[in-house]
């Protein structure tokens, strides 16, 4: 852990700017994947609406700063909170449904956000997006930006970790494992699903806002369905039932994009192929597989000693 921290601190001084930017982006994607996983991996609700929420976070920050002249710290606070509010309203309507219907309703809301951003040109700039975000000078250099964003992401991931490990997080996992059973040990399932969805929206909004800072603006692409699939993909790659699974998946996803993308423009082919193979042959994800092998071995040892 200390070694990891040391690497993080030293990194910007030994590698080039493009690498610093890449790692910053990675940090944001990790946060996004883990935020999403609160819904999908932890509580077991399939959402396709997170693209819209990610976009919402980004646009709220940019609109607040450009149109509202609000200082960045406040805008950075407002973005996740307002996104969480939006998520709460959407979630309140969505948690009545289950399974694929829940997923499709979130998809509809995600698309509604996307369409609103796309069509409300006067506020959002439509196709052109909103550019020209002025970043305070402390954060302007890639290295400073790197440290600021990484600090925020680490804080957020730590909060997610605390949530997942808490009795609240445990309750969410019970709901994922068996809703009927959760209900009859006294858990109000819908209420907890709504809370989990809202918390997930909060962190997704934060990730979107950070991404807007990195990109110096907000664009319609931030809110597409493809964007909604990204964290799900990351979760499947890494394994969504283990805490660091989605983070690992996000890393793999970005490396696929960056490195294979550098050799060939056909990286979606590779990514899609990987996804197909994973879903068919390794549905637990890579980290998830390792974890379950370990668990099984531990139980075997336990049984043989007992």
């Amino acid at each position: 852990m200390i070694l990891g921290l040391a690497v993080i601190v030293v990194l910007p001084f030994v590698v080039g700017i493009s690498w610093v930017l890449l790692v910053t982006e990675l940090a944001i994607l990790v946060l996004y994947a883990m935020a999403y996983n609160l819904t999908m991996g932890v509580t077991g609700m399939l959402s396709f609406g997170h693209g819209g929420l990610f976009g919402a976070g980004a646009y709220i920050l940019v609109i607040a700063m450009i149109k509202g002249d609000i200082a960045m710290p406040y805008a950075l606070l407002a973005a996740p909170i307002l996104t969480a509010l939006i998520t709460f309203v959407i979630g309140w309507l969505c948690v009545r449904l289950t399974g694929i219907y829940f997923a499709i309703l979130t998809l509809a809301f995600g698309q509604l956000i996307w369409a609103t951003i796309w069509k409300m040109r006067t506020i959002t700039g439509g196709d052109d997006g909103l550019t020209g975000l002025q970043i305070p000078s402390v954060m302007a250099s890639p290295t400073n930006q790197y440290f600021c964003i990484l600090a925020i992401v680490m804080l957020a991931v730590l909060s997610i970790k605390i949530i997942v490990d808490s009795p609240f997080g445990f309750t969410l996992k019970t709901i994922r494992e068996n809703q009927t059973r959760a209900q009859c040990i006294g858990i109000n399932v819908k209420r907890y699903q709504l809370l989990a969805f809202t918390a997930s929206g909060l962190f997704t909004g934060l990730a979107g806002a950070l991404f807007a800072i990195l990109m110096r603006g907000a664009f319609v692409e931030f809110a597409t369905v493809a964007r909604a699939f990204e964290p799900l993909f990351a979760g499947i790659l890494g394994g969504m039932h283990v805490f660091w699974g989605p983070a690992f998946g996000a890393g793999m996803l970005l490396s696929l994009d960056t490195f294979i993308g550098a050799y060939t423009e056909y990286w979606p082919l590779v990514a899609g192929g990987t996804l197909i193979l994973l879903v068919l042959f390794l549905p637990e994800g890579i980290i998830g597989r390792i974890a379950s092998i370990r668990k099984a071995r531990a139980q075997r040892l336990n049984q043989s000693s007992a």
Partner: protein, 288 residues
């Protein structure tokens, strides 16, 4: 705006809607019978459209040949994909959706490799060029053709499902696959057939869509969302629901463009949200 102009627009919407019906009915059929959410369904539509482009480029008057061959190509490809999906029939829906997403990415890239990333236009066959004077405007023959083909296929689909042994078996399997197999019906073979027929329908949809708009990469994602809106509004698993949903989609979109040009799509999303909240199984669907 005159009443004629509005009616004219409604007719255009019906044309678009009927084209989408071919796609939506297949999506609905796959869900109803196999309980699979085939997010990649529109990809078969796009592939057929590209095959049609190639065939029309090779042969003069190749459009009619394409109308026969391209959907068959989509169906064969669908048959292969069904074998992949079959491994996930008893798994959670999200795994099927991720498999579909993988297929979308892979096929998307393969299409880019084969046909490049510029948009493509398929020349309209001479017979279908021009229009007929109607309601004070000139209604394109292509739209009439699309409505005609889709209606004919819709009727054929109905006849097969309700009048033939295979169709009745399909409906039985949709309700209770295990009991159907215990009556001597090889349900897994039935599944392959249904998947292939659905992809064939999507293929026909793709080929006739080339008459209405250009072909471009990523078009499948737009179309699949439209198809989802349709089956949600109409009811997943109901063929009649897809028809009603398609017509609602086409007409609301066409009229929406007249009223608030930029928000036509938003209307449809709102409609879908309302349906999901108040009648999650759709206007003509039933809860399962």
């Amino acid at each position: 705006m005159g009443l004629d102009a509005i009616l004219f627009q409604v007719l255009t919407g019906v044309g678009k809607g009927m084209n989408l019906f071919l796609l939506a009915s297949g999506l609905s059929l796959i869900y109803g019978v196999l309980n699979v959410v085939n997010f990649a369904h529109a990809t078969f539509y796009l592939i057929a459209a590209y095959i049609c482009y190639t065939i029309t480029g090779l042969f003069p008057n190749g459009y009619w040949l394409a109308l026969i061959l391209a959907p068959i190509g989509a169906a064969l490809l669908g048959g292969i994909c069904e074998r992949l999906f079959s491994r996930l029939y008893d798994k959670e829906h999200y795994t099927q959706i991720m498999l579909a997403w993988g297929l979308i990415l892979v096929f998307g890239d393969l299409m880019k490799l084969t046909w490049g990333s510029e948009g493509k236009m398929v020349p309209t066959p001479d017979v279908l060029a021009g229009g007929v004077p109607l309601l004070g405007g000139n209604f394109p023959i292509t739209y009439i053709f699309v409505i005609g083909v889709a209606a004919a296929i819709g009727i054929a689909l109905y006849v097969v499902l309700y009048r033939t042994k295979v169709g009745i078996d399909v409906r039985a399997a949709a309700a209770d696959a295990e009991m159907t197999s215990a009556l001597g019906v090889p349900v897994d073979k039935l599944y392959i057939i249904v998947f292939m027929v659905a992809c064939w329908l999507a293929g026909v949809g793709g080929v006739i869509a080339t008459l209405l708009s250009p072909i471009y990469l990523g078009g499948d994602l737009e179309i699949i969302l439209a198809a989802f809106i349709i089956v949600i509004i109409g009811g997943m698993g109901s063929i009649l629901g897809s028809l009603v949903g398609s017509l609602i989609y086409g007409v609301v979109f066409a009229l929406g463009i007249l009223v608030l040009p930029r928000f036509a799509l938003v209307f449809l999303y709102i409609l879908m949200v309302l349906v999901l909240i108040f009648r999650p199984y759709g206007l003509l669907g039933r809860p399962r």
